[in-house]
């Protein structure tokens, strides 16, 4: 069987692998290389060592984007997961209409980032207008605008995953804890939370990586205004590539740094998930 299948490599594996090569593998390796060169059209690349990286870390915009992205990620991860978990707890009590509520809370997640950005631009500008300012007047408006947008988009998504986790907690366990005299808070703290810990890990990392890599919403809501102070990492990299002639190498170096940060987050998740699996 295996031997016969082997001859069918061109049918089964080749199309996907060629596409993978063109879309990902070649661009990835080429990107790594180009981050050490100066270029505008790829063929004119000149090796310049680490100087793109020095320029990247010397750029005020990049450092600001790094700080803004970090701050944004921390705030949205905490708010989204607290709200989503609370909602999931409320919606697993067998209340009437729970399914309808779940459907509604989840819906914003399906709307694309560009559309989301313009929806919230309208609403936040509408509120700020009463105070005589706009979204792009002060970076803090853009920051909180993005946090609100991200909450609206991701709370329902995380809630659905938490609901699945909470429904997997054996009811006997909760009954037993109650018979032993545990109140609702102690049941939550000592039974439910430990039991849904794997789900919490998944949700934390999903929100971290979604927030960290945000682009469309950022572009549509503020496009970095005022003066690039609300540009996150992905948008800053985009602006460096396509907004500044001669800075393509620096853009690629920033992209490599961005990749390394995302990879560190992903590996942290892998290690934490693995060690949990060993424990249980």
């Amino acid at each position: 069987m295996e031997k016969r299948l082997k001859h069918y490599f061109p049918v089964f594996a080749l199309p996907t692998l060629l596409a993978f090569l063109a879309a990902f593998l070649i661009p990835f390796l080429l990107g790594m290389y180009l981050s050490f060169t100066e270029f505008t059209t790829v063929i004119d690349a000149k090796w310049i060592g680490l100087s793109n990286y020095f320029k990247a870390f010397g750029s005020k915009e990049f450092l600001n984007a790094l700080w803004f992205t970090g701050k944004f990620t921390v705030v949205s991860v905490i708010t989204i997961n607290l709200c989503a978990f609370t909602l999931a707890m409320l919606l697993t009590r067998g209340l009437r209409g729970s399914n309808l509520f779940r459907t509604i809370f989840f819906m914003p997640n399906l709307i694309g980032g560009i559309v989301l950005g313009y929806i919230w631009q309208l609403i936040i500008n509408g509120v700020l207008f009463k105070f005589g300012v706009t979204l792009t007047y002060d970076p803090k408006y853009g920051f909180w605008g993005l946090v609100i947008l991200m909450n609206w988009q991701l709370i329902g998504y995380m809630m659905i995953i938490y609901v699945a986790g909470i429904q997997n907690v054996p009811p006997e366990l909760i009954e037993a804890a109650k018979i032993d005299g545990a109140g609702p808070l102690r049941v939550l703290r000592h039974v439910i939370i430990p039991m849904v810990m794997p789900t919490i890990t998944i949700c934390l990392f999903l929100t971290i990586s979604n927030s960290f890599k945000l682009f469309d919403q950022n572009l549509a809501l503020t496009a970095g205004a005022p003066s690039k102070k609300t540009a996150m990492l992905a948008l800053d990299i985009y602006n460096t590539f396509y907004g500044k002639v001669g800075w393509e190498g620096v853009g690629q170096a920033k992209a490599v740094i961005f990749f390394v940060l995302v990879a560190v987050i992903a590996f942290a998740q892998l290690i934490i998930t693995r060690s949990k699996e060993v424990e249980s």
């Binding site: 661009p27 080429l30 609206w152």
Partner: protein, 277 residues
């Protein structure tokens, strides 16, 4: 864990308020899409009245300005064909690299898994160049690019499921005279259907809403819906808020229709994708 009756009513009431708050943004956009463009930004929270109501004229101007009908067509074409191509080819690849055990297939598997953690910005510029050289910068070529980007998660999801299928089933088919292509399409693929639905849903939502990739590859000639909307923002100074509101409504409608027709699959698929990815 039933609380008191009064408590439950109170809770339902709070949830109802929250649900209304969750839906409000969409309703506000809808309401403003019927107001004249100068009456939107400053007071988006009031219903249109006889002075501000403009009927469907925002829709007309929005559709003409952005070429929304064509954009809808391209979005639909690119999404549907990419998803079909992805579901077909990645399931075949997943079966191959799970059943043929060699160093090569192992390396391929790890490379595919690795691609899942690489952010798009890392390959954005170079991918565009490669696609230009390989003439993939058109609505047909972009399907191949999407196949390449989707390969990681899709092969990973399929392979996870294929490992649980007893190999005896396939061997029996082989003994009965099926060649691998017949075995795959007659035996394996039907079993993979639940995973194929998950893969299809996840990729549909990604490709339908994707902005940057199609913008870089084909955006100057072919607009998808997100590109058409971003185009309204364009470099022409002030933005036509009326047209924008109408386009946002038109962009949201297909998503809501899709959601309510395949809600069960969407929720299941997304949970499966999140938990395994």
């Amino acid at each position: 864990m039933k609380g008191s009756k009064l408590g439950n009513y109170l809770l339902s009431f709070i949830l109802l308020i929250l649900a209304i708050a969750f839906l409000a943004p969409i309703f506000i956009v809808f309401m403003n899409s019927f107001k004249g463009k100068f009456f939107i930004s400053e007071n988006p929270f009031v219903l249109p009245n006889s002075d501000t109501f403009v009927s469907f004229s925002n829709y007309v101007s929005g559709i003409t300005k952005t070429g929304f009908i064509q954009a809808f067509g391209w979005s639909l074409f690119i999404t549907v064909s990419s998803v079909l191509v992805i579901a077909l080819f990645t399931s075949m690849t997943a079966w191959y690299i799970t059943r043929v055990k060699s160093k090569f297939t192992k390396v391929v598997y790890y490379l595919l898994a690795f691609s899942m953690i690489v952010p798009f910005q890392m390959v954005m510029f170079t991918m565009t160049k490669v696609a230009n050289i390989a003439h993939l910068d058109n609505p047909f070529g972009i399907i191949i690019i999407y196949l390449g980007f989707a390969a990681g998660l899709s092969v990973f999801l399929f392979a996870g499921f294929i490992k649980s299928i007893p190999i005896e089933l396939e061997e029996a088919a082989g003994i009965d005279g099926c060649n691998p292509i017949q075995t795959f399409f007659l035996i394996v693929f039907p079993i993979l259907k639940p995973t194929a639905i998950t893969v299809a849903i996840l990729n549909t939502m990604w490709i339908w809403n994707d902005y940057l990739l199609p913008y870089l590859l084909i955006g100057s000639e072919y607009k998808t819906i997100p590109i058409a909307i971003q185009y309204l923002q364009g470099g022409y100074g002030s933005i036509d808020m009326g047209a924008m509101m109408a386009m946002l409504v038109l962009a949201i409608i297909p998503i809501i229709v899709f959601y309510f027709t395949c809600q069960k699959y969407i929720v299941k698929g997304i949970v499966a994708g999140a938990v395994k990815g």
